[in-house]
Symmetry: C2
Subunit: 357 residues, 2 copies
């Protein structure tokens, strides 16, 4: 257990890709979409609870999810939940946590992690994280964890390694490539998926903000003495409304010189689409991923069918479909049309406002 | 208004063909499957309320539906609702009503009607019924109303006319023919669909029971003095448990000599399948029959989609499907597989008992 190390969980997302299961009022990180018995957020907490002490967790989330975070991780004290008044992408989120730690423990190490990913081999994951912590302890290094890719996925960001060592400098980042490019990346062997998990010292990420995102650095730097006091809420409100939304990848990682990647291979998925939920789910012998206590399928193949427990479903004659039923919304859609969910949501929003979103 | 004429509505059915919309606890006659604003039973009552006075209605139903009948036709007095302890097909149902009338008004005329059919042209229907009533008033005749067929339907019974008059003797009855036979029937022009609506004098149907179903006649005859008294319930219990289940078509109409048919053409359907609900429903421009306030379809054709009001549905990429969603059961099934609903129900029953049936 690393008592000088902190784990910052980013849990402010308002994903609609899992609509109608995810809603603005209860986004993906609070759901157990894979039916494991625990939410993504809880899994993330449990995964790191072997690495850092409970009092060293910080969850950064949107203000509206404060109660949900407490419900999923009752171990946290209120002061361990940092509330963003408004989502401003990952750089301000990370700055909020980093400047809070700067005040409490400027020598600390810091892990930053998304709250809604899947990791299968937790033992190997822990090894990679601990080895990264050791690496950054003795250097000014911004470490990102890269994933050995298994297919030419076009929905992920890619990291090009500078050599074949397990830990090495990053040559460059590429956001969501075309299929041809992704295929070339896999072929070439120098590319990893960007997991969005970062490891660094508080001091070093603050220095990186000062160099590459000076506006953000000065906004957050100016309120350090208010963090942890009664004035925090008002101060943060001002900073977030003033600061530009930007991702830490674009704002810092792609610009900094001291960026390293630790190559990991521990069964990772960002579970970003219903298709990836389907991939990660247990299937019946006709390759259907079924949930619900009484979901009966006939002449149905390669489909994901998610039904509330206790509800009966009889589904006949579907191939390659997604069926997601909730008490107030039913979605039936070919897997190949999953990208249309966004526009379905727009139509529903146009008709009924935010009620079903 | 024919004050000597009674209307007997048979409303004891426990149809499961409209599962999951119809349930044992609320079968088809109590539903508004076509979204007209009134249940089938209420439509039936309203249709005949122009022909016979309200106090001349009798609804025969299963005991468990007594309250539902009162709810749908609050105009009825309790004594106008005859409760079967157990379903025994149409002959015992009709005998119960006929022997009850025999005691009250042996000279009465009597219309017998199913409670769950659709009739579009009520004016023409009324003309046919009133003309039939006139016909049977002066003769010992058992009249059935036949429907000019419009397609070689294999799910209906057929009646062969003995000539081309609007009212004529019946040559023979044929239950659900094969497709080839149904096509030949339509071709030949002598055949009508059997609507299950009968018109006769009480005296004449009682005589027919005595001749063709003497066991039933003697069972019901033996309790006439108990009908309408406090002993009715126990007496009927005994009679129903003793009497053989049989349809009036098979038990009387196919055997009697004095059977006539009145040929009608007034937009009739027994609405016996989801397919016929689809046929009778208003369609959108892609031939979808949609219900629910927020049912959004994309790339979907020729489908029936029934969603609870207030629930959002997004349905993409279905052709020729039935989707019926209810709070506790969801059915998705190709139209061509509708006949399998019975076996789906068996499977659900095997898994969960009667809860969802």
């Amino acid at each position: 257990m690393k008592s000088n190390c902190y784990c910052v969980i980013m849990a402010g997302g308002i994903g609609t890709r899992f609509w109608p299961k995810s809603r603005q009022s209860c986004p993906k990180q609070f759901l157990d979409i894979l039916g494991t018995g625990r939410s993504f957020l809880r899994h993330t907490f449990d995964r790191f609870a072997n690495i850092v002490p409970i009092e060293n967790f910080i969850v950064v989330t949107n203000r509206r999810y404060f109660d949900l975070v407490k419900e999923h991780i009752p171990e946290l004290k209120d002061s361990q939940i940092l509330c963003e008044p408004i989502g401003r992408n990952t750089a301000p989120c990370i700055a909020y946590a980093a400047y809070s730690l700067l005040r409490d423990n400027p020598d600390a190490e810091m892990i930053v992690t998304p709250s809604d990913h899947l990791i299968l081999n937790e033992k190997e994951f822990r090894r990679v994280v601990e080895s990264s912590l050791e690496f950054v302890a003795s250097r000014n290094a911004l470490m990102t964890i890269g994933i050995q890719p298994t297919r030419p996925e076009t929905g992920y960001g890619y990291i090009q390694k500078s050599n074949s060592e397990e830990v090495c400098k990053v040559k460059c980042f590429t956001e969501k490539p075309s299929l041809e490019m992704a295929e070339a990346f896999i072929e070439c062997g120098e590319f990893l998926w960007n997991s969005g998990i970062f490891i660094w010292k508080v001091r070093d990420i603050v220095a990186a903000f000062e160099e590459h995102l000076p506006e953000h650095a000065s906004l957050f730097g100016s309120i350090v003495d208010k963090l942890g006091t009664d004035d925090e809420k008002a101060a943060i409100e001002g900073v977030f409304s003033a600061c530009r939304p930007i991702s830490v990848d674009y704002g810092i990682m792609e610009r900094a010189e001291n960026v390293y990647v630790h190559c990991g291979d521990f069964g990772w998925s960002d579970v970003g689409t219903w298709g990836s939920v389907y991939q990660q789910s247990r299937k019946d012998r006709y390759a259907n991923a079924l949930s619900g206590d009484y979901t009966n399928v006939y002449n149905t193949r390669n489909s994901l069918i998610s039904i509330p427990k206790e509800k009966v479903a009889v589904v006949s004659g579907l191939k390659d479909y997604i069926v997601v039923d909730t008490p107030d919304v039913l979605l039936i859609c070919p897997k190949s049309e999953e990208h249309s969910i966004k526009s379905f949501i727009e139509d529903v929003k146009y008709e009924t406002g935010d009620k079903y979103i």
